[in-house]
Symmetry: C2
Subunit: 599 residues, 2 copies
Amino acid sequence: MRSFNFFGRFCSAFHDYPSLSKIIVVSTLSGGSLIAYAEANTNNSNRGHVAHADAITSNSIAHADANTSKKKKVVVLGTGWAGMSFLKNLNNSTYEVKVVSPRNFFVFTPLLPSVTCGKVEARSIVEPIRNIIRKKNINVSYCEAECIKIDPANKKIYCRAARATLNTNSKQGEEFAVGYDYLIIAVGAQVNTFNTPGVEGNCHFLKEIEDAQKIRKNVIESFEKASLPNLSEEERKKILHFVVVGGGPTGVEFSGELRDFVNEDVLKLYPTVQHLVKITVIEATDHVLNMFDKRITKFAESKFLRDDIDVKLGSMVTKITENEISTKAKGSDKTTSMPYGMVLWSTGIGQRPLIKDFMKQIGQGNRRALATDEWLRVEGCDNVYALGDCATINQRKVVEDIAEIFKRADKDNSGKLTVKKFTEIMDDVIARYPQVKLYMKSKRVRNFVDILTEAKGNAAKETIELSIEEFKTALSVVDSKMKNLPATAQVANQQGAYLAKCFNRMEDCEKNPEGPPRFRGTGRHRFHPFRYRHLGQFAPLGGEKTAAQLPGDWVSIGHSSQWLWYSIYASKQVSWRTRALVVSDWIRRFIFGRDASGI
Amino acid sequence: MRSFNFFGRFCSAFHDYPSLSKIIVVSTLSGGSLIAYAEANTNNSNRGHVAHADAITSNSIAHADANTSKKKKVVVLGTGWAGMSFLKNLNNSTYEVKVVSPRNFFVFTPLLPSVTCGKVEARSIVEPIRNIIRKKNINVSYCEAECIKIDPANKKIYCRAARATLNTNSKQGEEFAVGYDYLIIAVGAQVNTFNTPGVEGNCHFLKEIEDAQKIRKNVIESFEKASLPNLSEEERKKILHFVVVGGGPTGVEFSGELRDFVNEDVLKLYPTVQHLVKITVIEATDHVLNMFDKRITKFAESKFLRDDIDVKLGSMVTKITENEISTKAKGSDKTTSMPYGMVLWSTGIGQRPLIKDFMKQIGQGNRRALATDEWLRVEGCDNVYALGDCATINQRKVVEDIAEIFKRADKDNSGKLTVKKFTEIMDDVIARYPQVKLYMKSKRVRNFVDILTEAKGNAAKETIELSIEEFKTALSVVDSKMKNLPATAQVANQQGAYLAKCFNRMEDCEKNPEGPPRFRGTGRHRFHPFRYRHLGQFAPLGGEKTAAQLPGDWVSIGHSSQWLWYSIYASKQVSWRTRALVVSDWIRRFIFGRDASGI
């Protein structure tokens, strides 16, 4: 909790002294304190569990060099946040790691919307995976191919090399197999069109760097097209009607970027058509940014109103044709259509074909994503791990294990649980079921015992005695706070780091398990279950204003959070190269504006 | 000649004190002296003819504002060197200028080879044409479309809007007509495949920024493919065999860039395949860089030998298939084939379909390029100008006009020409026929009269008397030095500046012509004919070594000319934005190496 408290205090300092932010930006840009803080923070997330990791690793290296043939093969699928984070944190040389991905670089996805209008260059937010690999002292190789089938029975995956740019020679498209001892699936997700007709082929997405480049080119092209001499006013308006489907952080940030581009650069470059630009955001629910605090939602909506961005709430897109987009208001049967020039579809995520097939194969066919246990192991599959957007943790409910917990606590088999008895196993319960901590935090409960006293009508602690039924009722509230983790970079990053730390100490924890005791079986779990720590979330709204939702119910909106955003995003870059490039892009944009070349 | 002498002395200073170069780079990077020099140099190229331009322009602006309807329409086709230079130098507001090009940006083409391997980013060498336009005080608009037909009879061009990235709506592909009073054709050229089978579809070209991006992606892909697990040594070698067809500056520079990339970055990123790389340069003539001084050619060939770049001289490519490239040695009938991974075709230029059609239309069907007179006016077409790679100047021979020149000089109709008589018209002849100056420079003749004395066996000047036949024989040597200007950025740039200056003073020179007297007719030509001043040429050879051929037979090879290259190319950038970007790219590469992300 150290990092959490630090962060909380840090944020409150911003509230009281907004000018602090500038100092921090300066120190960030000069490679100073905040970067050091941010890096330390990531590395510490699960530091509690891996105190001896370094010592063990150095032993392992010596051990491994003597026995290279014994190295266990770890295959990592994907070079996104989860895969990169796993690789960056892995430092156990007893593994032979092979990374398989059709994309030979990592993308800093939170800056993708910045690329769409030229605030940041595409190349500034990518880092070749081989650059990350070659800095490691362990045996890691990379292979530019797409995994097309997983065969967990034979511990093999089948891959296909990516297609070439120009001609088709050079063994492209050939398939090959790779064996594994451990498989780590971190392939991410793809855009979900919800089978809406016309989305494919007419809409832009914003998942990959190429998407952002295409959008940038298309935005410029739209202004060029609208400036052609032989068009009516109506046609120009149509070309310059930008529609964003989905009022989540991506859609909102793109709208803000586009509005900034129009206000700052289009004004100078395309003065004759600037007034014809229209931006529409279509959102199916009642509010944009609905995963954020209500204050942020309200601010975003009123800012968009001022910025002349049309927000259509409670609207579903039913169909998209070459020229028109059709929507239906919630609870109404009437479909309205409007002409558009460009649509960005940013509604939600779906699973890739590889994952869909694999889920069918292992009997998870009707789930939303690959189900894993709290240790990120795919359910029903040995030695296969899944993390990031392609997986969800299928967390065990406390209520499911209530009989075992009761039995373990009720050492004298009296059938009654006192507070004293419960206190003895309380820490184990908290360690095994991450949702307990989450519940306590959300309810601001300081002590787990308070849940029991509350169930008994706030009786005095000493007098409480619960039967198994009463105990079940008391703890059932705890499971109510359980929900799937969001599909964010932050989750994937933490999962990758967690899993790497497990792998770093795999052998050691086999012998000396460090996890909580097994309530259903005997002995202890090898590791602590994965626990997500929410460090806050940003929603840039354009006009150098950002909404930030920080832990501890802190909300910060405006210019100071924009500076905080600059600081954090600069510090979180995976390499000094990208950090230098991103910062210099920001400076370049301040000085020269955005580049409007159609490349 | 002032600039020429300055340049010569400047270069000799480099020879004597190589460390000077570093001082100049520093002053360049800080926006200092050399930039000022380089800019002044460009602007001065034809300054002799346009001394009063500024004064006239300011009058014109006042005049034009009162009579906008009278503005003459100038249509410029193309946004390359010639078009950009014309626009940058035009400052007469009595015109209404419309630029038509499918490419809304200017590309600094000399740095294209640097983009292929990531020394410089694509976006750093492009400048939106609208940025160039909006800095002008005159009426210029831009239209992103391709001219598909020129109708000189009706003074109209037909255009088609460029195709869109995503869907096909928004009036894309529709045609429209644009009328003109003056048409300036500066569309450049395209790659010439010499109808070699298989070139299209299997080869990369290097004319446009997209080509350079594709090559970069393909180079990275080649290394990724060659690193796949399921290949034989033979297959890896094939994938990593890079073939360059054409040993001109582009081909040679690309080979050098690729060799640098392999030595500096591939070593770190793809250590397992680095030794398998092979680079082959195929050149049809007997030497690479054959337009350069022999010392440079020799140095380049021996450097390539040391760098393990295989140079096949006197070899013609006969066919390219998906897997093999076939060549035939000069004077032999035997065809040999070799497997390859990637081919760059950089042999020569051909005309675009638009120009081919237009040439047929105006009866120039069997020429190599659009023929213009010395004032860049297309022959047989009123008010149409052509410049850059799509045009050649069809220079009038002195011998063709010999009778008129003789008659003009022989004022007393004696049938004999003395040196005194000739001296009186000498300057007019030099002004009218640019090849005279060229001949004198190449032969190091200081005085035109020396040509006459030489023809008379170095007789004493006073005694010389020539008949018309003797005069013709004496001057015939002058035409021998006539040749087409090279298809370089330097020529296009100077032509654009020259034409802009003519347009700036068009009205004024109509009344007070400033050109040489017409020998065939009466009166004077409106303007001086275009005269090309060769300012030198670079051939970067890789390994931070560049060969520079400078005016006055100066040749400089090695690290110091590399620094000169950095200085000149930084100073010649069209905007401070691209200058800052290019310089920061160079610095970035020094610090972090090249980016190997496959985007």
